[in-house]
Every structure is written in C-alpha cells, then in structure tokens.
C-alpha cells in the first residue's frame, strides 16, 4: 500500500511538471469617481472611449466634444470642440478644389443645423503613437453639375417620386456628410489640432459601387488609412436581414494620393457571412498595431492583416456572443468585453424592423492565446456605457444615476 502511495505522488508530481504553466487572474472592482462636468455636461454616455495612457481616457461626448479625463480623479483636463473651425474655407480648399467641375459645395453655417445649432460632428477617434486621429463629418449642400443620375438616384432612394409627380415643380437639396480627419496632439493638458485632411472616396472605388464607412472605425499608419468598405446593395427588408457578401471588406488608402488604394480582407480571411445589416453597420471595427503587425477586429474575429493569419476565431464564441472591445496583452492573452444577445420570443414588427429585438448581457473575459481557452469571466452591471476602454490591466467604463455620471474601472491582476 505504501509503495502504491509513493507511485501516486510521483505520478502527480510528474503530471504537474509536464502541465502547461497556468497563471491565475482575478478581477478587482475599483472605486467609482464622480465625473467632472464643469466644462462639458454629459447628456448621454460617450459614444466612443479609448485610453491615452495609464491615467488618461478620451471620450466623444454627444458628437460635440472630444474630452480627456483623468481616471484616478474624474477630472476633465482637456476638450476639443469643432466650433472654432472655419468649415467654409476648409471645404473650398479641399472638396471644392478636387471636384471643381463636377460638384458645387454650398456650405452654409446656418442651415441644416438640427436643434443643437451645429452641422458638424465628431464621429470617432483613434489614439496611436502620441497622436489623436479624429474623424469628423460636416453636413453640406451639394449640386452635381454634370451627373444628373445622382439626383435621379436620390429621388428614387428617398421615395420622393410620387411626391414629385404630385407637386410637379420641386426644389431638391442634396445634403452630404463631408468627412475629415483631424490630426492632433495632447500637450500641456490641451488638445492641439495640427492638421486637417479631407477623406475622399477614390473614383475607382466609387465606380465599383463601394463606399467608405469611417464611423465604424479606422486606423492611420504612416501615410495610409485603413477603413471598412461596403458595396452598394439592393434594398434590404429590415435591419435584421443578412448582409450580402462582398469581395473585400477593407480599403487601405494612401493619404498623400487618395486615388491610390488596395482592397483587403476577403470572407476567407475574416468571415462576415453571418452578419446582419445591423451587425455589419452597428458593430465597431478596431485596429491595433503590435510588433509591426496590424490587427483587425470585426466584433467576432481578430485577424493579423500583416501576417495574414487569424489570431482569435469566432469559434471561441457562442453563436449569440459578440465582442465590443478587445485588448491584446503581451501577445499571449486577449481581454475582451463580450456581450450575449438574447432575442425576444415574440418581437414586434417594429422591433424586428429596427433590429432591437434582443437584449445584451455583457461581461469581461480573458482569453489565453497559447491554450486557446477562456480563463476568466466577470459579469458587468447593466446600465453602464456601451463603450468601454481597455488598457494595460484596466477596463474603464461610465455609469450614471439621476444626478451624476461616474468613471469606473475594473483591474485584472495576475496572482
């Protein structure tokens, strides 16, 4: 009997020595801090949040301000708004020059304002290598001087044919959102705008019926911008309809000559076949550069564009599970904010139409890329910001009550 015990102990020791080294992690809730609203009053949760460094977080508030907060004090240290920009001169010097004989741009700072007196908005941003790349859009009236098919197509799309017949004489105004990229830095608690670039749609891409969707996320690397693309399809029935397949999903555009581009990402590399229209347009994509490689993430898969390999597959997710944010840590782990969608049993037509027939329950999860296994999960509370920022051991999000907004963060530690 004693000999058997020895064998058993030796066997356990041997197995332990051979087993993959397992690190243990735990999540730790940190105190929530009241957010400083002395300069910018929040009217909703930020639409996009990203960490600048270990203590600073940037957020887009109501599409009006890009605000920077200290996550340890809640203090608002800097803001960028678009109020001081002269869009009239900017458009004349960019879009109007490029399309001089084709399109007339009539920017009017007093028209198309909506209720909040603004026809420009901050859509999203990306912080990378000490620079802020801020995507903005500006509503502008346009007249197509040569191509009458644009107006005809507009009438068809907007279903105004019948109205046009009824009134016979109508004045049409086409309003387009012109897109720009602000390149800025954060110096001495101030966001300083260094350069503003127009973001054109290359002619060849337009001819191939693609359009660019910067609001989903973008990435600037040297003189190139990576952006999601979509091929113009026939009309979809509802937002829950399946997105039709397209040959490519990403464009890499040369910012010095925006007519030059490459098309990247096929369905074989990153599978979009199970995306609904809502999922395709509603889910952010994100990019990270690590060790010279650029990683692309579409809500389900993480793909190394430079190395042409998938590093995280949606096969590790449940069929109703999506990822909102992710962060690659030490090339060996991915931290994600995942959410499960539970469809209502009896959705109304309205809910189906607008793809709001499901509820999301989110959690923070840690995935080990070496063992290809989930190693930790923590449920997140409801009623917190959709956007979260993950950086270097922290997940930052916002919460609110009837009086205040709060900055919260959760730390994950290796034991």
């Amino acid at each position: 009997m004693k000999l058997k015990h020895y064998y058993f102990l030796i066997l356990i020791g041997f197995m332990s020595a051979c087993a993959h080294k397992t690190n243990y992690y735990n999540f730790e809730n940190c105190n929530k801090l009241k957010l400083d609203e002395s300069k910018v009053v929040l009217k909703n949760f930020p639409t996009h949040m990203e960490m600048i460094n270990d203590s600073l977080m940037a957020a887009v508030n109501s599409h009006k301000n890009l605000s920077i907060y200290n996550i340890y004090t809640g203090r608002n240290i800097a803001n960028l708004s678009l109020q001081s920009l002269n869009f009239d001169s900017l458009i004349k010097n960019t879009y109007q020059k490029k399309y001089a004989n084709e399109i007339l741009y009539n920017y009017d700072s007093l028209s198309d304002l909506g209720i909040s007196n603004s026809n420009s908005q901050i859509v999203s941003f990306k912080f990378d290598r000490k620079k802020l790349y801020i995507h903005i859009s500006v509503a502008t009236n346009v007249v197509y001087l040569k191509d009458s098919s644009v107006l005809k197509n507009f009438i068809k799309i907007s279903k105004t044919e019948e109205i046009a017949k009824k009134y016979k004489e109508m004045n049409y105004t086409i309003v387009e959102q012109l897109e720009f990229l602000i390149i800025a830095t954060i110096d001495n608690n101030k966001i300083s705008s260094k350069e503003i670039l127009p973001l054109y749609l290359p002619k060849t891409l337009k001819q191939q019926n693609y359009f660019l969707i910067y609001y989903k996320g973008f990435y600037v690397d040297s003189n190139y911008v990576y952006v999601s693309i979509c091929k113009q399809d026939d009309p979809y029935e509802t937002m829950s309809s399946n997105k039709k397949s397209q040959p490519y999903y990403l464009a890499k555009i040369n910012l010095e000559d925006q007519e030059k581009f490459d098309l990247l990402l096929t369905n074989k590399q990153v599978d979009f076949t199970d995306f609904t229209i809502d999922a395709y347009y509603g889910n952010q994509v994100s990019f990270e550069k690590k060790g010279g490689d650029i990683f692309f993430f579409n809500g389900r898969d993480v793909f190394d564009i430079t190395g042409n390999k998938k590093i995280f597959s949606k096969s590790n997710l449940k069929s109703n599970e999506w990822i909102g944010e992710y962060y690659i840590e030490n090339d060996s782990k991915i931290v994600v904010v995942a959410y499960n969608l539970y469809h209502k049993k009896k959705p109304t037509e309205f809910e189906k139409h607008y793809a709001v027939d499901s509820l999301g329950v989110s959690s923070i999860k840690l995935f080990d890329l070496e063992t290809n296994k989930w190693i930790l999960e923590k449920a997140l509370p409801n009623e917190i910001s959709n956007s979260k920022a993950i950086y270097n051991g922290k997940i930052v999000y916002m919460s609110r009550d009837k009086q205040n907004y709060y900055l919260n963060y959760i730390q994950y530690n290796e034991n």
């Binding site: 609203e37 009053v41 929040l42 009217k43 909703n44 639409t47 109501s62 599409h63 198309d112 304002l113 909506g114 209720i115 909040s116 007196n117 908005q121 509503a139 068809k156 799309i157 907007s158 279903k159 105004t160 109205i163 309003v175 959102q177 359009f211 609001y215 979509c230 113009q232 399809d233 026939d234 009309p235 979809y236 029935e237 937002m239 229209i277 809502d278 347009y281 509603g282 889910n283 952010q284 909102g324 959410y339 969608l341 109304t348 037509e349 309205f350 809910e351 139409h353 607008y354 793809a355 709001v356 499901s358 999301g360 959709n386 956007s387 009837k402 009086q403």
Partner: protein, 164 residues
C-alpha cells in the same frame, strides 16, 4: 455596439435604399395622455400636436425635427413638446445650446422636460426606441390618430390632414 446602431439608422437609410415603413395611423384610447393634457392650460377642442423630442437623436432626425416643427408652427393647434432630459444640469445646458427650437411656454404651447414622461408617451405608441416622434392626439375621443418617427416623415403635408 448595438445602441450605436440605432443612432446610425438614418445614415444607413440614405445609403442603402433601406425600406422604411410609412407612418402608421392608429386610433386607440389613451387615458394617460388625457390625464396629462387635463393638467395643461391649452386649447383641447382641436387635435393636439405632441412632439416627443430626444435631443440625443440622430443628426438627420434632429434636422428633420426642425423642418417639421417650422412647417407646423404656422398651424394654430395646441402643441406639446416633451423633451427626454432628466437632469437639471443637462436642461440648463440644452437651453443654452438649442437655438432652433423655442423652449418657452406660450399660449397653447407647452414645453415639458421629463425623460420618464417621454418614455411613457413613446411606449403608448409602441415606439420603445428613444426616437423623436410626432403624435396627433384627439382629446375629445381620447385617441392618438397619427404617429410617426420624425425620420420616417417624407411629406409634412401628410400630417396636415389631421389638423384643423
């Protein structure tokens, strides 16, 4: 994220030939609205225009709202504006920045800042999204006779037929 999708719907609509449903005409009893209007000093003999306004609605929706509001401002029917704003600090900030909508009460015109009421009224017409809506309500019959999200209104004239 999912919520972002909601904010971008109008953008997608214009890009994708997305087929929006037409505004619906309903005729149902709604004593909650009746009770609300009982508390207001407005003319109840004509159909009442109720705007539920989400100041955080999509960019194009808010442009659409201003256009609809400007066109219907000439109509003499009573108007109620219910804004989805909860905190006093937000209300004061909106008053400073909302330039294209008159936020003062006047004769037959009432502005209510109440997010809970906004949600209640939107749910009455089964629009559980925080969409800005136009509702035409008949007080005598306690009936909602027209409602549509601002983003789905193609022709303001279609609303006119329920007024006067």
């Amino acid at each position: 994220m999912k919520i972002n999708a909601v904010l971008l719907i109008v953008f997608i609509v214009s890009l994708l030939n997305f087929s929006c449903g037409n505004s619906s005409v309903v005729n149902k009893k709604n004593s909650k609205l009746h009770a609300l209007i009982d508390t207001l000093n407005i003319d109840k003999t004509k159909n009442i225009i109720i705007y539920t306004v989400n100041p955080n609605d999509c960019f194009n929706c808010l442009i659409g709202f201003v256009n609809v509001n400007n066109t219907l401002s000439k109509i003499q029917n009573s108007k109620i504006y219910i804004l989805a704003v909860e905190r006093e600090i937000e209300k004061q900030d909106w008053i400073k920045t909302l330039k294209n909508i008159d936020l003062k009460d006047s004769v037959n015109r009432v502005v209510i800042w109440d997010k809970t009421l906004f949600n209640t009224v939107n749910k009455l017409v089964r629009k559980e999204l925080p969409l800005s809506l136009v509702i035409i309500y008949n007080y005598t019959n306690d009936s909602i006779i027209y409602n549509a999200p601002i983003k789905e209104i193609v022709e303001v004239e279609q609303i006119m037929r329920y007024l006067n």
